[in-house]
Symmetry: C2
DNA sequence: AACGGCTATTGAAACATTTCAAGCATCGTC
DNA sequence: GACGATGCTTGAAATGTTTCAATAGCCGTT
């Protein structure tokens, strides 16, 4: 009767001598069924090795038990920390988390979103390639709970969770100025990326308000936010004529900073004495670098957790209002900007 | 008639003036439906914004379109590279990939597996906390296609994909011996971890066959394979009396090696002149370290891709035989073992 | 005009669950 | 001993697809 099939509620019901509905009740509202039959049903389940079919459950109940996060760049540990924060929140709410990776490709992002729509996930968290992409509007229009992570989107068409990147740029450069640097490079790009633009803006603002010459804040553009690009920026830096060469660099993220650090040390520079370096994100490897990296810390896990809470609110609370949450970054000073034995 | 609901095949059929079955055919075997009606149906879908309900599809068709990977440690980039390899293979097969993370906790692993069973995923790839855990047998017994990644399991109860860790240990230590080191530390632990034990075994084998004194291969145990543990190992290393202190260290993975590297440089040692260091895995940050790290490379993405292919074979090919695939590791020599300007 | 062979479409059953109104005991109360 | 009330259990409908046997239409042959 069960020939090889994986057992269904029907089989359990038969084995326990009760009806379908009772088995379902045991799973979904155990309090309405008497202790005696509950126990009988549970034993039957265990004996048969019954595992509830989630597709059928979801089809009938109309509600799924999963959240999804579409991350921007799988090679950047920052996003994995964000994902971990989401996962923790999801675990608390007894939900599963689907993790996808767009690898910064808009087409791939769209494929993932389409599939998530088919899965009828409860909500989608995303760090988008382009926050203005029309396929994101599409989601809102469909009424899928949506939260933008680490970016913001025009108007309040949906929730977002981000970090004050302008402020991040300010504190990074302020720190360098305090250390006595008068010629500083900003390494990052492409500046069409929201974060890069804002971190640069913050850097320029504080530089100006400190009364420094704008020409002494040098923009060193990169093609991407990777270690390799950081190295290449280092080479360009070394190629500058000595009187124009900066004594410090503020990198738009830690991967760039690590690349720059590596290239500089390899070229015989002393860090921080010949070149001070500040990164952004404070990923785990920042502290673990051979010269521990000063960095602007974002509350990565917190970011993910907050985003998950927003998406759950949107999914469950009918009076939900879209919010733009913003966290404040914080400078973590380490050896890459502060000489050993030299007081702050 | 459609009041707010998300449209179903039925709505599409009505809008296009055809039957349910035809709409389904348009999606699943477009070749059997005439160009004219196909076009009509497709227009109706676009107008209504129809998105197929995957739960219903899966319930009826009995087959899901997802694979799952349960990774061991989300903080280790190695596993993300493996995941990327799986993802690529999944993409080629037009499947989605569910990524879970057990964070080395057996209980969490079990929760994930249970949920994946409920989802009726096509197959499960896993780097288990303990390859002998009974809940893995449970999966095999249920007939879920299963592949163990980066570990092996007794007998041929299921497929596995791994790297020859004994050989990895041999080539690492052989390389150090070639560089003239006569006193070498092995850093890693706990040695209940399969990889750690086998890498250590390989190290001991080659050490002996080179005719060196076993007492000069020093085992420095760690609690986990993390950067912090690497630093702590560095402190213990520094604490050894000079005549017993090794001139080289072979670390069971790159995170340990990076921690050791950082601690050593911070303590004023020159790498590789005072201490040569070899890691294992060749994660991206290995090459990017301030002293680029010599490491034993595992074909990480290849590992994932091969595992995905095995699981797909098991899922689709009735004549599938379990296989234990093993890749060979390869030494990547960099500055952490080879002095600049000194020929290999 | 009947027929056979195509191709394109249809209709109904099936998938495994949840939900809910209705039914059935059992019990205490008058 | 009738009556509600209470507490469990049941049976059937509903969810959105896919699948497949059956049918309808069409064309060319005889």
């Amino acid at each position: 009767m069960l020939n090889g099939r994986t057992p269904s509620v029907k089989d359990v019901a038969a084995a326990a001598g009760v009806s379908l509905g009772t088995v379902s009740n045991v799973m979904n509202r155990p309090e309405v069924v008497s202790a005696r039959t509950r126990e009988r049903v549970e034993r039957a389940m265990a004996e048969l090795g019954f595992v509830r079919n989630e597709s059928a459950r979801q089809l009938r109940a109309g509600t799924s038990r999963t959240l999804a996060y579409v991350m921007l760049d799988g090679t950047n540990p920052f996003f994995h920390d964000v994902a971990q924060g989401i996962e923790n929140a999801a675990e608390d709410a007894d939900l599963s988390l689907f993790i996808c990776n767009s690898n910064s490709r808009s087409a791939r992002e769209e494929v993932h979103l389409d599939r998530l729509l088919q899965q009828r996930v409860q909500g989608i968290l995303i760090t988008p390639v382009d926050p203005a992409a029309p396929h994101l509007d599409e989601l809102s229009r469909r009424g899928v709970p949506l939260v933008i992570v680490d970016r913001v989107r025009g108007a309040d068409s949906c929730c977002s969770v981000s970090v004050n990147d302008v402020l991040g740029g300010r504190i990074a450069v302020e720190h360098l100025a305090e250390q006595g640097h008068n010629r500083v490079a900003f390494v990052g790009g492409p500046d069409s990326l929201g974060q890069v633009g804002e971190r640069l803006q913050g850097a320029r603002e504080i530089w100006q308000s400190l009364g420094k010459d704008p020409d002494d804040l040098i923009y060193l553009p990169t093609e991407a936010l990777t270690v390799a690009e950081g190295r290449s920026a280092g080479e360009r830096l070394a190629g500058l004529p000595a009187r124009r060469r900066p004594t410090a660099a503020f990198c738009a993220n830690d991967l760039l900073a690590l690349g720059l650090l590596q290239q500089s040390i390899g070229a015989g520079l002393r860090v921080p004495d010949d070149l001070a370096i500040v990164g952004f994100d404070d990923i785990e490897f920042a502290a673990a670098a051979a010269v521990p990296l000063t960095s602007v810390r974002q509350p990565r896990q917190e970011l993910g957790r907050a985003a998950a809470q927003l998406v759950l609110d949107e999914a469950t609370n009918p009076e939900h209002r879209h919010q733009q949450l913003q966290f404040q970054p914080e400078l973590v000073a380490r050896a890459s900007t502060v000489s050993r034995g030299r007081a702050l």
